[in-house]
Structure formats: C-alpha cells, structure tokens
C-alpha cells in the first residue's frame, strides 16, 4: 500500500465541499486528496494533479492545491508538524491575486 501523508479535516472542508463543490468535480476532489496523501509525491516534491505550492506573502505554511485547473476550484491547506490540515475550499470564481513573477533563480540572486 502507498505510504500515506496524514491529512486532517478539523474544519469540515470535505463536508463543505459536499454542499458547495459542483458534482462534476467530486472525482477531481478525490484525486486531489489522494495526491496530497501520497508520500511519494511529498518525497519527490512533484504534485502534477494539484500543482501544490506555498502561498507567498504569508508567514504560516499555507499552501494552495488545485481541485480543477480549468474551473479554478482549489483547496487551501496548512502544514503543521508534518501533517496537512485542510483549511478552506475556494470557489473557482474567486481568483487569487497573481504576482507577476518573470523569473526564478535558485541559490544566489544575480541580475
């Protein structure tokens, strides 16, 4: 069996999803949660389904995970003591403000 990374849903995000998420995206939600639980994805740092990434500008370890790229529905999670906590489910109509990053550099900054 795949090694599992624990996800906690103390805020009832799955319950909220059952009410708010369009039914045609329920399978996408399952696949997103499956990827977030997959320890191999965490080990390799690759999340092709959810495109998991840290939300910039916030000190806390809050992450964004796509449920569905086209509609924009997504999850916000917080990483605390190696456990992912579901924090919110965001409607596709509420767009995250995008900071226009033109390039990334690793290690050392040079113009």
């Amino acid at each position: 069996m795949t090694k599992i990374k624990a996800i906690l849903d103390e805020y009832g995000i799955i319950n909220k999803a059952a009410k708010d998420l369009p039914k045609d995206l329920w399978d996408s939600l399952i696949l997103a949660l499956a990827e977030l639980e997959d320890n191999e994805c965490h080990r390799t740092g690759t999340f092709p389904v959810t495109r998991l990434h840290k939300i910039r500008g916030i000190k806390e370890a809050i992450y964004r995970a796509d449920i569905d790229k086209i509609s924009g529905w997504r999850l916000h999670l917080q990483y605390i003591d190696k456990i992912l906590h579901l924090k919110d489910i965001i409607c596709g109509d509420d767009h995250d403000r995008v900071i226009e990053v033109v390039k990334s550099k690793r290690g050392r900054y040079e113009k």
Binding site: E60, I99, E100, V101, Y109
Partner: protein
C-alpha cells in the same frame, strides 16, 4: 535548505532605474538577507523597517512582507517565506525604491498582495466590537 528567488516584473523595472554600482549593492544585499533568513527566519526582522501594517488579515495569518534597508537611500520590498513541504525558502522580490517612496509603495503592494486574505469589513467591525 535551498533558496528560491522569485523576481517580479515590477522589481526588474525598478532595478533598471539604478546605476550599475547601485544594482551591485542591491544584489549583494539581497544575497546577504537570503543567507540571514535561511539561517534564522526570525533574524530578518533585525534588518526590516518597523512599518505599520494597515490591514487586518484573516485570523491565524501573518504577513511576511518586509521593507529592508539596502543602503542609506535604497529600500527593498520583498516577502520571505519558509516552505517546509519543498524544503526551501522563497524570497519574492517585489520592488526596489528610494527611501522617500517606500511607505507609499509598501501600501500599494500590500493592498495588491493581500486582497484575497484581508478581513472583510463585517468581520473587522465584529473584531472591534469584541475588543
């Protein structure tokens, strides 16, 4: 832990306004701040301006937006984020301005950056009532 710099179009345009000598100073200072943050995230506050954050974020959220002194005349506006899942530090270079502009630019950038995570007006009123 690796450091990833994310460079915004606004920052690149700002850099073009500075002389090659000033650009070199800014570059060196960015790398200095990055090393300091990598070693101890709390240490970055030693170098940052104490600036009043004019907005109320949603409960449990703390802004990582900083204004850092590069030189007597130059200020860097950036976010410094620890990213434990990917075992890295992310430094987003947002703007680089003259010292007499930093407060105004900080406000503009904070408004854009935190538009999605600001407490809405009703919640802010309730928070004040409780106090």
């Amino acid at each position: 832990m690796e450091v990833e710099f994310q460079v915004t179009s606004r920052f690149e345009k700002d850099m073009e306004q500075f002389s090659p000598r000033d650009q070199e100073i800014i570059e060196n200072k960015i790398n200095f701040f990055a090393r300091a943050f990598e070693e101890n995230p709390a240490a970055i506050h030693v170098y940052s301006h104490k600036i009043h954050f004019p907005f109320l974020l949603k409960p449990g959220l703390t802004p990582s937006l900083q204004v850092l002194k590069v030189s007597k005349d130059i200020r860097l506006i950036a976010t410094f984020d620890s990213d434990p899942i990917f075992d890295q530090v992310i430094i987003t270079l947002l703007a680089c301005v003259r010292h007499d502009q930093y407060e105004r630019e900080f406000l503009k950038i904070a408004e854009q950056l935190y538009e999605q995570v600001l407490l809405n007006e009703n919640q802010e009123d309730e928070a004040h009532d409780e106090n």
